[in-house]
Amino acid sequence: MQAAVIVFPGSNCDRDVAVALGASMGRPPLMVWHGDSALPAVDLIVIPGGFAYGDYLRAGAIAAHSPVMREVVARARAGAPLLAICNGFQVAAESGLLPGALLPNAGLKFVCRDVYIRTESSGGIFTGHYQRGQVIRLPVAHHAGNYHIDDDGLKALEDNGQVAFRYCTPGGEPGDGANPNGSRDDIAGVYNEAGTVLGLMPHPERLADPRLGGDDGKAMFDSLVAALG
């Protein structure tokens, strides 16, 4: 398996995800600079967290129009697996690869802490190593992670099984304080219709190593390696 991590000016979790993904793959992924319009043939594309283009205008808005994104969007629409984490999720939503939008947090403050999320579907390429309903602990670190979608869009997400993760209590229930940003229906991550693009606000790469206090995120990278060879 080979993967490419897209690096925008202002990306700052590119190394982190490369380390975590590389540990599961057994070799480092390719790092692709935003100015490159050529994207090598890879099995997985990753848009990492950070503040691409400073998040000026609106989180992810400028990056969505970066040269490399034309190729990323084309590949993803053609079925190439894409993992979009945090700022990457914002870029993917701005690019139209995922439904909905990410608004400023309900508390209007940046929030960095561990959250619990419940795996809403398993068996796909991203979650093969999780059980459906499994509660995992991952950190969030964002100021615009408040997932919003209209009523029809939400119904479509539910009907198609596109809700990937929901914020929850450690016991797996929705509840007071579990949702860090006001996201609609506690949604922490969504798939595209085909299940080949995952966007999520929590950072699996930050808890993929027991030394850092947990490794619930490692199963996501292991799932990808198992599914994509």
Binding site: G50, G54, C112, P139, R206
Partner: protein
Amino acid sequence: MSGAPPRPNDLMGLSEDEYDRAVAILGREPNITELGIFSVMWSEHCSYKSSRKWLETLPTEAPWVICGPGENAGVIDIGDGLAAVFKMESHNHPSFIEPYQGAATGVGGILRDVFTMGARPVANLNALRFGSPEHPKTRHLVAGVVAGIGAYGNCIGVPTVGGECNFHPSYNGNILVNAMTVGIAPKDRIFYSAASGVGNAVVYVGSKTGRDGIHGATMASAEFDDDSDAKRPTVQVGDPFTEKLLLEACLELMATDAIIAIQDMGAAGLTCSSVEMADKGRVGISLDLDAVPRRESGMSAYEIMLSESQERMLMVLKRGRESQARAVFEKWGLDFAIVGALTDTGRLVIEQAGEVAADIPVAPLVDEAPRYERPWTPVPPPATLAAADVPQPESLSGCLERLLASPDLCAKRWVWEQYDHMVMADTVQRPGGDAAVVRVHGANKGLAMTVDCTPRYCAADPKTGGAQAVAEAWRNLTAAGARPLAVTDCLNFGSPERAEVMGQFVGCIEGLGAACAALDFPVVSGNVSFYNETNGRAVQPTPAIGAVGIIADLDRMATPALDAPGETLILVGDTAGHLGASLFAREIAGLEAGAPPPVDLAAERRNGDFVRGLIEAGRVGTCHDVSDGGLYVAVAEMALAGGVGATLEAPPEGVAPHAWFFGEDQARYVIAANARDVAAILVEAETAGVPARTIGRTGGAALTASGDDPISLAQLRGAHEGWLPGYMSSG
């Protein structure tokens, strides 16, 4: 140059004597640009004219010190060919005037100091002091400062892993915002600021120069009055996105051998950076201001030279490497301009539109900067406060709950959850413990880091307070299992022109120098911030200490968390029950009085070395230092961190319960040990001359002191976690 101007009415902060000295150096009256340059270079902020004499007394050397004070940051050897590069700096005045931008640019400035030297920043910390919670400005200042620090660090992608945050009415008119950055570099690839090579190009990179922050260094060298809000234009505006690009571009170019010298443009911008580079290299420098990238048209030489626009660097490149360097900066979308050259004249010559705008000999500008031996009066030693003079409370657990919910001891989660403390994926111990621990990327070792100061001790007895700040930092590193290596100091005081303030300064320096010497803990970098006073009222003396240590094996470190029942709690260190200048006295008894606890540096060293030995041997994994609030607070913090309660034994004969549980005697640690190891640990302690005794056992979901009401961890947690969010959302 046009004819000599008359002596101006406004000397821009220079004294009459200083102005005369400038005239003598030039052999004529300075023009306005030259006067501006003298003014900032000789400001307290840049010249250390009142503090230098005393700073020179501090210990700065050790076998592991690669570069001590005088460069952009201190550099120490951390083994395996790597160096830690770190410094702490104040951004007090701008943060009070404009909290968000003031604090943000404080972070930006200290980050640049570290990556200028070739290091990748790996952690930020900060030490914040605000006024009384009841003061009408405090809430606004806390919100703005925390948001500003977060915005900068989060965007650039350097984790903010630790700090402290206190409140006291002495900071009502002058908050303190001290920011520290720690970076890691290959130890044979450290970059310095001394320019060399006559004819070599002087290159400007980064953001364009605008009219922001003009005379910021001078503003930071004067006290405030009722019109301090009018100084807002002297505050800089930060752009962390540009700094991220500048960081990556600089590190990319530093991986080549194109750079001879590099200096960030911080206080006093282009003036200070060009003068320092030329002076350190004993060369002259000529600058063509028409080549400086500018945001605005019509900027005068004075404005360009004194602007403190952020995210800018000055470099001297090897000849012929300009196009290689230009390509790197253009890749990152940054300005790159050759703005001058090194000369053999020894003079700073500035030209604009074909005219000489300034011409000053560099060496006298630096070497003949004023140096003052300010008069000082020692702070009279306070009377000791006997425990018997502090009323014994009815309920120890009630006092504990009140202390843990007090502004100084409450959980600061509301603050650090606004900071990305995990980016870079090497944060091994997150905020909230004794020291933050950041793994050295790719290795199984870590840097422990902390910032500490107890201003109420410094106010009561500066020498003891100075020593205590260093000792507490050393203890916090030790409690994590780290070997303490070196210190950066950020010395925040009132006006040095007042003898009482200088007395505080001299006392604190004496104490911190003694502690650094006794603990082999040299000062490698630092910063002095005077004039933290308004209308003659100064802040409490606050010599904040930032410190770095090394954990050689991350499998052998300690955290404060009590996470297993049935363990024995051991108190290491002597307890006389010292309540003077304690939080118990202040928060419970309403007494801001008494001498601070004595600091016995030999005992600190003995006790700390013993505790570290246990951690390094893998025999103890749970440890917390005892500081603010004393023993009961320390145990409560451990219990809350791990979710396991404890039962504590009665005090020994002769120590009153409130003195035992809340006294702030120094050189103490609480460790949790497996019951079967306890006897051996106590015997070894005795052999080492280290006082140690069992004080209780872990277990349950409450804390119980012998003979006192228990208190549940849930209730304590509510009090501890509740105060700050409640405060910030009310009013």
